[in-house]
Symmetry: C2
Subunit: 323 residues, 2 copies
DNA sequence: GGCAATACCGCACACGTTTTCCGTGATTGA
DNA sequence: TCAATCACGGAAAACGTGTGCGGTATTGCC
């Protein structure tokens, strides 16, 4: 794939037309005869012509690039989202650049400056946590994913955490469980609070708040066992894995004696757990796809407003269903 | 931060010079009086001027963008590498775009086309595995990270896996261990084979090949215990975690009876393990930094050739040291 | 005071594409 | 048959910046 720098003028010359005409033929614009269009197309294909993005960007204003601005340095959430975003955008011949702010406001500002200077067509903003975040101030289309903007006029796409948590409860109750405990992360984390609220609303039970670790899952297990539960729903897969480990150590069978559910469907946790976890998949790729679609529409001139809640999906495995 | 589209002509007008002169002043080129330079700089600062990357790219040929091409969809390896790359490049005002090929050759080709069309200044190629990979065919500076190019004339930066594995052995021997077993992943994985070879060279012992899972770690533990080892080195943190779990189930104390080491220093495994794992950190950020430096030099016109092996670092934790 | 050298800056073009405007030839309707 | 309309394609400007070359003013030197 040598790049002899074939320009649109070369294509035009081969097709026997002017550069402007060649451009119109390749972009389906202007009024040209069908015969001319296909002749130019053939010439372009023959020469292996790929339009230079620099010239195109300068001329058309559009740069066919969108940025994914994330604070999630681990990539745990931003990678699946990015994959969804790319799915939609690459179909439209757009490129995606990933900018990791590492939770540093200065770095974020710096990124925004260069993104605007580069003339990206739009930005998807996402984060590690689900708490609403202050909007970014750029004269560009923006869509917030996972963490909504605090400005309700902005477009945001988030996961319906309450429904996800409720789904685990419904699932467990359908299995005949009646005494269901809830162990989750810090109360001041929105994701923990929202899931716990949904659980409490269904069960009238008191959630146990802690942190997101396996260790906390193990500790909390000892606490909730006093209530003789027949199921434990957890705010994350890490906690659930800790719960399973502790229950096994105590000789309590999962799911026969006690069913366990996680949250997030993080493969390294949910699948490595013994037994594998019934959990809630956040559908992050869907989230990314939806965010990208909204962004495309905003770029096209019809922006959306408000937050859109996408459903999560219950994934059942052996921690509630037996082997 | 409104963007009233301040162009270099605006800066030039405010400073009372021509656009060309303003450009030279801001880029430290041409011959200008110090007074003029600072006057232009003041004007630029006052107007909040940021040069438009599109025009700059078209004019200078350079786009001040490099791409990180990865096959590692999980982000487990590519994210730390990207962080290191960004560290170096953002200092030079370069942007990094992440392209995830998802191990699909077609997608890789498609990415390469658009990258060349966009005129990126260079490419860092990385992967999920350490096996050498076929080089990409682009008329651009390229550096391979983690997985070397099969073409020795290309520039590659990789981790010295053999030395990393040897370091665990030295560490264990220093602790007085003499009967050391080795459990690792598939023999046809270069990372497993290379580490196993280093271990075998030091111990004259037979490694156990399997897969990278915790389950295999648990299974293999039962096998190696017949040899009454006083230490087990593992080819990955996941395997090591499985080993620890199994040993605890069997009532064997780690590290008092048997010391255990992992490999990779993957936080969710190495820290969540009971006890936390002594392991080998791949220094992926260093890898990224080094790759970026080499790329910058190649872009500047002095390309390097051959593979550069960077040392890994032993991280000691309780799985070998006691509490 | 005149000449040459030097420092300094402006002019104009280049980069590759898109896009607006306009001209030409053909077609249709009266 | 003439005029009005339409389809088609070309010429040139525009996007914003970088840069080579030449011109001017200033300085230095004799």
């Amino acid at each position: 794939m040598k790049r002899p720098g074939v320009r649109i003028t070369d294509v035009a010359a081969l097709a026997g037309v002017s550069a402007g005409t060649a451009s119109k033929a390749l972009n389906n614009t202007g009024q040209l005869s069908q015969e001319t269009r296909s002749r130019v197309r053939r010439a372009a294909a023959q020469l292996g012509f790929t339009p230079d993005a620099r010239g195109r960007a300068l001329s058309s204003g559009r740069t066919y690039t969108v940025a994914l601005l994330t604070t999630d340095s681990s990539g745990r959430f931003s990678i699946p989202i990015m994959r969804g975003v790319e799915d939609v955008l690459s179909a439209g011949e757009l490129a995606t650049v990933l900018c990791d702010t590492r939770d540093d406001p200065l770095r974020e500002q710096s990124y925004l400056r260069t993104l605007v200077a580069r003339g990206v067509d739009g930005i998807v903003v996402t984060g590690r946590r689900t708490e609403p975040r202050p909007p970014i101030d750029v004269p560009l289309p923006v869509v917030y994913a996972l963490a909504a903007s605090t400005n309700p006029a902005d477009a945001s796409v988030i996961v319906d955490d309450a429904a996800g948590a409720a789904a685990t409860i419904t699932h467990l109750q359908g299995l005949g469980c009646t005494r269901i405990a809830h162990i989750t992360g810090p109360a001041h984390h929105r994701s923990a609070a929202e899931r716990a609220e949904a659980v409490a609303a269904a069960l009238c039970t008191e959630p146990l708040f802690g942190d997101w670790s396996e260790r906390w899952g193990r500790q909390a297990t000892d606490l909730v066992l006093r209530e003789h539960p027949d199921a434990i729903t957890c705010g994350s897969d890490q906690i659930a894995r800790g719960v399973c480990d502790r229950l096994r150590e105590l000789g309590r069978s999962v799911p026969d004696e006690i069913a366990v559910t996680g949250y997030d469907n993080w493969p390294v946790m949910a699948l490595a757990s013994r037994p594998p976890l019934t959990t809630v998949d956040l559908r992050l790729e869907d989230l990314g796809r939806r965010a990208a679609s909204l962004l495309l529409e905003a770029i096209a001139g019809t922006p959306h407003h408000g937050v859109l809640e996408l459903p999560a999906q219950l994934v059942t495995r052996e921690s509630t269903l037996g082997a």
